[in-house]
């Protein structure tokens, strides 16, 4: 077992939060602190590093219980503002998924479709306190005779509404290009022909899982900023792949870890849960997510000091390769290069386009820093950490 020179426990850091003595910095501020003081000095000085990301996260949705009707109903099909919600659960429970388009959406019949309203927008409307039209249909049973019912609901009147996102916060993601001869519309945005642009989607040095690459402090029960409120990491996410290739510093160079997160929608805000319409692709939800990383020792100080120069991803062709399941890289680029505005693809300069808001990621890290500094947010010690 490796021994550290600095050793702090969650309880000690939480005690500092309670007494107002905690030192919190953002993941961007931590870079300079570790550069100046070294990991050990930084670990003595800093207790918590905050991270943030604000991106479309398709694997998102909400469990909703909408209360009974009279006569009672065992809802078999449910729509919220005409967006189908999955109702194969108990009588008045449903799950509204972010990517579900509304019933009369023309989809991609005239490509590229617009996807103006879907599950993500329903969640945004609920978080904004707006009234949402709920319709339920059923086949009728002795105990639940009602076959069809509708009502207006809003977040306040719903007995239960919990955001439950089975895959958020991807640790790294591809940089997308298009090597075909026509523009394509993907979940990575519009991609012009012949590698006309290169799109990427990560907050890089601010992104939660880049700051704890081996999930040493993140696991079941980690308390987080989620959609403007408080949430928890409740499992590893779908497609969690810790075995991805990594740099010597530990950050994966392809998509790797993911998070399953949950939180009470009633504490969240529409500023941080934004319905998204991905042209030609579909609906989604842009989620604000931030994780506080406890600096338990100098090793965590070193991890959280990671900068865009040391984080890399692969250039992937979404024109031919990706749809055909071909896994091929057209080069490895750092997030520093991506953020500079131009990268080299096959020897040609290519403009880069971000899809993840760095402005909002910084805001989230700053809000979380403020919550913790004010004593309004305590760290959640994980029951066990994510699989590595």
């Amino acid at each position: 077992m490796k021994t550290h020179k600095v050793n702090k426990t969650y309880a000690e850091i939480n005690e500092k939060i309670r007494s107002g003595k905690v030192v919190v910095v953002t993941a961007e501020e931590m870079i300079d602190i570790v550069r100046d003081e070294g990991p050990e000095g930084a670990a003595r000085q800093v207790d918590v590093v905050t991270t943030g990301t604000f991106s479309p996260m398709c694997s998102s949705g909400a469990f909703i219980n909408f209360g009974q009707f009279t006569p009672t109903i065992k809802a078999a099909k449910v729509w919220l503002n005409n967006v189908p919600a999955y109702a194969g659960l108990a009588a008045v429970d449903c799950y509204i998924g972010a990517t579900e388009p509304c019933e009369d959406d023309p989809l991609n019949k005239v490509p590229p479709g617009e996807f103006n309203y879907g599950g993500g927008h329903v969640i945004q409307d609920l978080a904004a306190g707006k009234k949402v039209h709920l319709e339920a249909e059923s086949y009728g049973t002795d105990c639940y005779p009602n076959r069809s019912a509708q009502k207006k609901v809003d977040l306040e009147s719903l007995p239960y509404a919990v955001l439950c996102n089975p895959r958020n916060g991807y640790q790294n993601y591809n940089c997308a290009i298009n090597l075909t001869k026509k523009t394509i519309y993907t979940y990575m945005g519009a991609l012009k022909p012949r590698a006309g642009n290169a799109n990427y989607c990560s907050a890089g040095q601010l992104s939660p899982l880049f700051n704890d690459p081996y999930y040493k402090t993140i696991g079941i029960g980690t308390r987080i900023f989620l959609g403007g409120g408080v949430g928890y990491v409740t499992w590893h996410g779908t497609q969690h792949k810790p075995s991805a290739d990594r740099t010597p510093g530990g950050t994966p160079v392809t998509p790797a870890g993911t998070l399953c997160v949950m939180g009470d929608l009633k504490g969240m805000s529409a500023d941080w849960l934004r319905g998204a319409s991905m042209q030609g692709y579909g609906c989604s939800l842009t989620v604000g997510l931030g994780i506080p990383i406890p600096i338990l020792n100098e090793e965590m100080a070193r991890y959280t000091a990671v900068s865009d120069e040391e984080i890399f991803t692969q250039i992937v062709d979404y024109g031919n390769d990706y749809p055909n399941g071909v896994s091929k890289s057209y080069g490895q680029v750092s997030y520093a290069e991506l953020k500079s505005g131009s990268i080299q693809v096959n020897g040609e300069p290519t403009p880069t386009v971000p899809l993840s808001s760095l402005v909002k990621a910084r805001e989230i890290a700053a809000i979380l820093k403020d919550w913790i500094s004010r004593g309004a947010f305590q760290l959640g010690e994980p029951q066990f950490t994510l699989p590595v």
């Binding site: 604000f54 991106s55 479309p56 023309p106 590229p112 617009e114 103006n116 945005g189 519009a190 991609l191 012009k192 642009n197 799109n199 934004r274 319905g275 998204a276 319409s277 991905m278 042209q279 989604s284 842009t286 953020k339 500079s340 505005g341 403009p351 386009v353 971000p354 899809l355 993840s356 808001s357 760095l358 402005v359 909002k360």
Partner: protein, 142 residues
């Protein structure tokens, strides 16, 4: 879904007919009235945003013209809903003129309307739909 802001001028011979109503009934178009004025014994002017499929839109406009209505495209401009922009950057992939650009190192997305050609490519490319087509602030009734 196709939409345009139109300025319709109704000569006094047709001012009393329910023409716009027929756009809805016969051509499945929806509209949003932005301004309207009917001067007694003179022409009427209606500024509306008309939505529908491209095909129905064409047919509807043809119908109006056949009825003697003058149809003009309103001068349009692109506006950004500043407060709702998330500064994600997705729009910079499609903007051909550099009107939408990234300010470094802050990574805020700037919109310079002077460089905008009103090509409208950013409107459906913006995931949060904050780029909007608006009629130019002109007086229709002078």
């Amino acid at each position: 879904m196709y939409s345009r802001i139109l300025v319709l001028r109704f000569p006094k011979s047709v001012v009393h007919k329910p023409l716009v109503c027929n756009l809805v009934k016969e051509y499945d178009l929806t509209f949003n009235i932005l301004n309207a004025q009917v001067l007694p014994r003179r022409e009427g002017i209606l500024v509306l945003e008309l939505y529908g499929t491209r095909k129905n839109f064409k047919l509807g406009v043809q119908y109006l013209k056949d009825q003697g209505v003058q149809v003009q495209n309103a001068e349009q401009e692109i506006k950004r809903d500043q407060n709702s922009c998330t500064h994600c950057g997705a729009c910079t992939a499609v903007c051909p003129t550099g009107a939408l650009s990234i300010q470094r190192p802050e990574m805020t997305i700037e919109f310079n309307q002077k460089k905008c050609s009103v090509c409208e490519l950013c409107v459906p490319a913006c995931p949060t739909r904050v780029m909007k087509v608006r009629p130019k602030n002109q007086t229709f009734f002078d």
